[in-house]
Symmetry: C2
Subunit: 339 residues, 2 copies
């Protein structure tokens, strides 16, 4: 009798906000492996904001996810069966296994799955600090914000998987790291545990004037680089405090995912302050992954790059955990434990 694989499919597209009804859990028998294929038992699934965009049927950098297919997602796991000489049972691997307990992978396709070393780096970290979020932080900070020692770098969603790495990488480069996060707990974590110089709790500053004052205190010399994970009023406030020739890496505009566009209040500041803004998606910059992963892996192995994980216990909880992530309810990298 075939083994059963629990999977989460995209059942329907959100009209405004995404809801649990947009997902459907199914149980599917696993097929027998064909030549070249590998069976991976997924240990952890990564949940990430980009998935929300894929749920829409709209122009975006990502092709829309087809209805009634397994939700896309990064996974780490272990090879449990193999008809491919490149992968042996017991190998730890990272790939795009999707929202499911098992993945059948063509081991000969380049780049779809790679083996990882868990001697000094925990398996789940390959979905976070030493995975896509870490490389996202690295690319946006190093290549787009171009930090110089003594400069001030700001990052929103600072307690998240990407944001926490941005600030710590900025500290390694001799910068003042300023986080923006929602809530006193997150801000305390960002400063006390991750070592940022300051953190602005945007929930304490609901109007522009108050947010401006808090940002002025946290970044007394202005802002030279901004890693944007949020958009909206937070981006507006950061823009107002940018120094001449500042750089902005645009990584997330989460407040706009649910349909409505969120305007930028004063784009003429881009001109008057001679700023450079650039949007990016890390998977289009594969050339930096080796260099980025080398630094990130080294920093994690030596305890210099800290991270936190929010782990949902079972695949059944994935939709709820994902919706929570979109609302900022997670604290650190959001994972789903699949074993």
């Amino acid at each position: 009798m075939a083994m059963i694989n629990k999977q989460v499919l995209l059942a329907s597209r959100p009209t405004v906000e995404a809801t649990v009804d947009n997902f459907r859990l199914v149980e599917t028998p696993l097929p027998a492996l064909a030549e070249g294929q590998v069976l991976v038992r997924n240990h952890y699934l990564s949940l990430d904001p980009y998935m929300r965009m894929r749920m829409n049927d709209a122009k975006s950098y990502a092709a829309p996810q087809a209805l009634d297919t397994v939700m896309i997602g990064g996974t780490v796991g272990e090879v449990v069966d193999s008809k491919n000489a490149k992968f042996a049972v017991g190998d730890k691997v990272v790939g795009m296994g999707g929202w499911q307990q098992y993945s059948v992978v063509d081991g000969n396709l380049p780049g779809v799955m790679r083996k990882v070393d868990t001697t000094h780096v925990p398996l789940s970290a390959y979905l976070g600090a030493v995975g896509m979020p870490g490389v996202t932080a690295w690319y946006g900070l190093v290549k787009l914000c171009m930090p110089k020692p003594g400069e001030t770098i700001v990052v929103s969603a600072a307690s998240g998987a990407v944001g926490s790495a941005v600030g710590q990488l900025a500290k390694v480069r001799g910068c003042r790291a300023v986080g923006i996060a929602g809530g006193a707990d997150k801000c305390r974590y960002v400063v006390e545990e991750l070592g940022f110089d300051a953190c602005v709790d945007y929930k304490q500053h609901r109007d522009a004037k108050s947010l401006d004052a808090a940002l002025a205190e946290a970044a007394p010399n202005g802002i030279d680089g901004n890693f944007e994970n949020v958009g909206g009023v937070i981006l507006d406030a950061v823009l107002r405090r940018m120094n001449a020739f500042g750089r902005m890496a645009l990584c997330g505009m989460i407040s706009g995912y649910d349909g409505g566009a969120v305007p930028l209040s004063n784009p003429s500041l881009i001109l008057t302050q001679r700023l450079r803004l650039e949007g990016f998606i890390v998977s289009e910059h594969m050339e930096v992954w080796p260099e980025a992963l080398k630094e990130l892996g080294g920093l994690v192995a030596t305890g210099k790059l800290k991270y936190r994980e929010s782990v949902a216990a079972r695949i059944e909880e994935a939709p709820e955990a994902f919706l929570g992530l979109l609302k900022g309810k997670n604290f650190g990298k959001q994972l789903v434990k699949l074993i």
Copy 2:
């Protein structure tokens, strides 16, 4: 008896729109030349949008112009008296002489005034196609829009001094050049005389849907580079049509000069299309001037770079001409004849 110099001063700062009352014409006796000084009779004054920003007392890339001082401005003229061995009577010069008939210049200060050759290039062109507007076009196009043959480049205020050079330089580089201008006359000029491939008359397209359709027709393959001179709804429409990895040079946001900020409707497109936007002011990139002026001068001398001038006849008309420029009433480079 000392010669009289007619000058236009900044009399007051605009509260909302600039008006003629913000300027004051005075007649001042010319002082005797000190050692090292040069007396220049200004032939033409250049009027440019950046002057509007200087009239405000606000954070900007330019220091505010002090009240009761001669309005800043680029000029071309002829040396009529000299106590400096570097400049002889009869030399043609370009500099920042201001809104006045005569300038007394310290000929030893580096970079304030340079001699120009009028053998193949008319004197007034050094205020336009072979001057700051030309170099502005060159820098924003070449260094920020980074055009490749076959790409589509869009420029707003396309019949103006900067815009007309942007499109013609783009054509030289093998691009499709699309202008945006106000009025059928300007659009006809841009296409028929300057050789752009298409021009959108924004006055014929007052709503976003109509503007989008016109831009889609003019740029059927999308937009790869945008040279922004205007901002507001035009920038919004261009942004909606940008191709992935497109570049935007932000040179002017004229619709925002009169106080109120003009929002950008959908900044999340910068992320989803992975765009790069950069604001610039050409005087901060002096290193490109020699290369740019060489190309621009060569193209003007051989008739390959065309331009048009709007010339106010007397210094008394400068304020009116300047306000007209801000409203787009000029057609080509706005000058004031001072002789």
